[in-house]
Symmetry: C2
Subunit: 541 residues, 2 copies
């Protein structure tokens, strides 16, 4: 058997940018061919971007995708790259007119074969039964005497199906749009290894990378042998062209990143691509001196450069001096565009006119800050960032149209405990690279406070964060009921209070901006619950 | 053959309120039995409410539903109602542990039979593949010598399937949770008539009514004969117990409502149930003197009573006198709790501090109004209503965190043209009933204006509404592409402008409050598009 060289092109596509994605493909094929590859595989729905959601149902978009495939094939041929076999994801149309999640195999300037995804995920963040018809035919390519099987993403995850019907092959190529979540790398590797064992052939897994609204694709493409050995691997959250010769021994692998690093760069990637792919260059956010805004601003600086981050200190009469100092220090560390805008004159106008008290009055402060941020976003053509974390989202501990304003929420899927962990990780990362730790130690160490009244701290209204996050993890991510939570030993009053907060905050979550999913269950399309619901866990006997 | 009496119990359930829904069931069975019924059929997922979305996946909720069925069966038996056969929708669990959309047949205090929905809709607003396993067994009941087939909603819509396998039956009972949309009544009747012809047996269709977040169920239960004759029918948007003797001739039918009336009451139902089922009694909204806020306030008064509607006039230096007069007149007609809160002092404070100009400055006015509305909502425990219409949603012609604030948006699925039509309809309806038309003629007749700068009218920024709404209907509801729109004769510049506005406003729509779906395609879960997308129809050659 010959040992054809395969290239896995881990690229960052953009949804809807058929021309731009096509250009990325041509450039990658040229580089792969320069390195001797005879087969180049791209991620799932390369040409259209992924996921396209209901765009798949638009006939004009289907036609544009079909033209895009022809254009790429013709361009490859005209540029002398037509002898390379290219496996490209795109939007197809089945014989009955329904759209499919398709791979086209380009060779010699034409579409030599096609494959439609068999297994359509329709759980979690996926809605593929909604938009795609399922394929039924397998696909095996003959490349320089080697038989190479091809499937798309979910096809590999299901027992049986096209993988089981491949017969004798020399390698299986899987093209993927697999969103990042903490710990998923191990699951993928384990599963691909199992399939390799079943097939007695290596599995080459190429994954998309980049941010798309609330999803982040991490790349981390790899090749695994039937005995479970990783034969080749690409780093996460960056472009890569992973070369592998069918039948070759293990080569050098990409260095592994620990989970904190992965989660951090996932958030940065999601934030950067949201800004860049939507055509802006700047963000604006409030800097309270607290940990959430400090981490969000640091991520923003890592994503688009500190000079493109407008950080606004918006002190009130309740703001402590250290808060202002911490915000100022952070902005200096990041090289951010730092502004100070006291809220007192506007709050005084509202107070005089409306005369509100209690929570309604506290909300005025948060909403004046939201208006300042949005005013700057509008006048400076910047995206506003909401700095709420997952714990706040879960419990509704935020002011609608106040601190919740924004186009994107980079911390949305990080609970408070994780916000602290990542802040410490980011500072340690700086130290390890001989840089100044960006986040002031005081922002990490002090008790969190919304500073909406004198001496207020979060723990006046919420259980201690360590406990709260544990209960939330069990209730939200693991969908445990009240009975299970009590059986695990959590205090009854705490459980009832937390569950009630979560259930009542659904309407706030619905209006919250998108943010990068980094856990197994993020708020958003991962967890679809009615707003109007009288269901309370408490009614269980 | 005997002619057993069947009762179709058209009730308004609430999602998650298993005990409350169970009580409604027992009361309805008692009334049905008093009227001689031997079989009572309830709507789809009666006991749990519908749709329950991901609540279906919670084991604690599954257990509660199972207990709820046992409780209802036992209560019916203990109250001497056990001799009636009751067909009840609920959440089931299949042998493999996955949830199902189930009907249970109660008789003599126990579950005599079950039926799991075969066909799971996974398009439009439906996500049933996500949460349910499909049933495979048919269900035919023997009731007093009659053979009664039973299916659930979508099962009737698909060719073949359980309906085709029924054999000889005397009637088919279909239990439904079918959301209202304009014109759907005819589609249902036509389809049920076709199935009746195929079966050579009448079809008895019982539908849920009431609002659930962005869905409104209209009821309109009916029985149709094999020859297409309607044998019995219930009115829309209200409780009904529709009695029908198997084999009987047509009885008196519910009076038909025209589409304007149906759409109007659908919005009122959606609004009322959102408020009531979420436990509040009051709403607050801005009254600008314009047509949108006038119609929204009138709907609110019809939903929960004028005295529970807080209407706030928030004049600025740009507000015309007639605007204030129109708002005052409207509030008087509705008996609303009318307030006046000028925005000038707060706007002046923002102007002095931020010095914004152009759209950013205009947004300040809208956002100060939003803050006033939210301040009142917080302090008076009322839901804020957003008064935006579908045309505004489509084009992004609204200020985020300004006029877009609110818990619910009753006009969300009505385009501007429809807002005028319904306003005229509502006034004519009042006149026909000898009442004062609620909406001031001036609010209907004057050119729409946001009044954010001197002399501003909407048509400065947007094409004429009649044209705009036509283009939007073709592009959004019918998913036509640019090529199709131009082929239909629309002006190219208008088409490109409108399409660009729609595509760029997706992020605003994501943060908008829910509102009742009344058309075939509402913004929200009916139309799932990426925010980040470089797809533009314009790239088509």
């Amino acid at each position: 058997m010959s040992t054809p060289r395969i290239a896995l092109a881990q690229i960052n596509t953009c949804v809807g940018d058929i021309a731009g994605n096509g250009q990325l493909v041509v450039e990658s094929v040229r580089r792969a061919r320069d390195h001797g590859a005879v087969l180049v595989a791209f991620p799932e729905m390369t040409l259209t971007g992924y996921p396209v959601e209901d765009l798949a149902l638009r006939e004009s978009f289907q036609r544009a995708a079909a033209r895009g495939v022809d254009d790429v094939a013709a361009t490859l041929e005209s540029q002398g790259l037509g002898d390379v076999t290219v496996v490209l994801g795109t939007l197809g149309v089945a014989d009955d007119g329904r759209p499919t999640n398709r791979a086209v195999i380009l060779k010699g300037g034409v579409v030599a074969a096609t494959y439609d995804k068999h297994h359509l995920p329709n759980y979690g963040v996926f809605d593929e039964h909604r938009i795609f018809a399922a394929g039924t035919e397998p696909c095996v390519l003959d490349i320089a005497d080697a038989r190479i099987g091809l499937v798309i993403c979910e096809d590999m995850w299901r027992e049986g199906g096209p993988v089981a019907d491949m017969g004798d092959i020399d390698a299986l190529v899987v093209i993927n749009g697999s969103p990042y979540e903490e710990g998923k790398g191990h699951v993928r590797a384990e599963l691909a290894g199992r399939r390799a064992r079943e097939l007695n052939a290596p599995v080459a897994y190429v994954n998309l990378w980049g941010g798309q609204d609330d999803l982040v694709f991490d790349g981390h493409s790899f090749v695994v042998a039937p005995d479970g050995t990783t034969l080749a691997s690409a780093p996460g959250f960056q472009d890569a062209l992973l070369l592998w010769d069918v039948g070759a021994k293990p080569g050098p692998l990409a260095p592994a990143q620990d989970e904190d690093a992965q989660v951090y760069w996932a958030c940065v990637t999601g934030l950067r691509d949201y800004v860049v792919k939507n055509g802006l260059t700047k963000v604006v956010l409030g800097l309270s001196g607290g940990i959430d805004s400090a981490l969000a601003a640091t991520m923003a600086a890592d994503a688009i450069g500190g000079a493109n981050v407008i950080g606004v200190s918006m002190p009130s009469r309740y703001s402590s001096d250290h808060s202002k100092d911490d915000a100022w220090e952070l902005a200096g560390n990041l090289g951010a565009d730092y502004r100070i805008q006291p809220i007192e004159p506007m709050v005084a106008a509202f107070d005089a006119e409306l005369g509100l008290t209690g929570v309604a009055a506290e909300n005025i402060q948060a909403r004046v800050r939201g208006m300042i941020i949005m005013g700057l976003a509008n006048s400076e053509n910047a995206f506003a960032l909401a700095t709420g974390n997952k714990t706040e989202l879960a419990t509704g501990y935020s002011t609608m149209y106040g601190d919740a304003v924004g186009a994107f929420a980079p911390l949305k899927d990080l609970d408070k405990t994780r916000v602290w962990d990542l802040s410490r990780w980011r500072n340690a990362h700086a130290t390890a690279h001989g840089e100044t730790p960006p986040i002031p130690a005081n922002s990490i160490d002090k008790p969190p406070s919304a500073e909406l009244r004198p001496g207020q701290v979060d723990q006046d209204s919420l259980p201690p964060y360590a406990l709260l996050d544990e209960v939330l993890d069990a209730y939200v991510e693991h969908a445990e009921g009240r009975a299970e939570l009590l059986a695990r030993g959590f205090d009854e009053a705490v459980v009832d209070r937390v569950l009630s907060l979560v259930d009542r905050a659904e309407w706030k979550r619905r209006q919250y901006p998108p943010g990068p999913k980094v856990t197994a269950l993020a708020f958003g399309r991962d967890r679809r619950l009615p707003i109007t619901s009288r269901w309370r866990e408490k009614v269980e006997p």
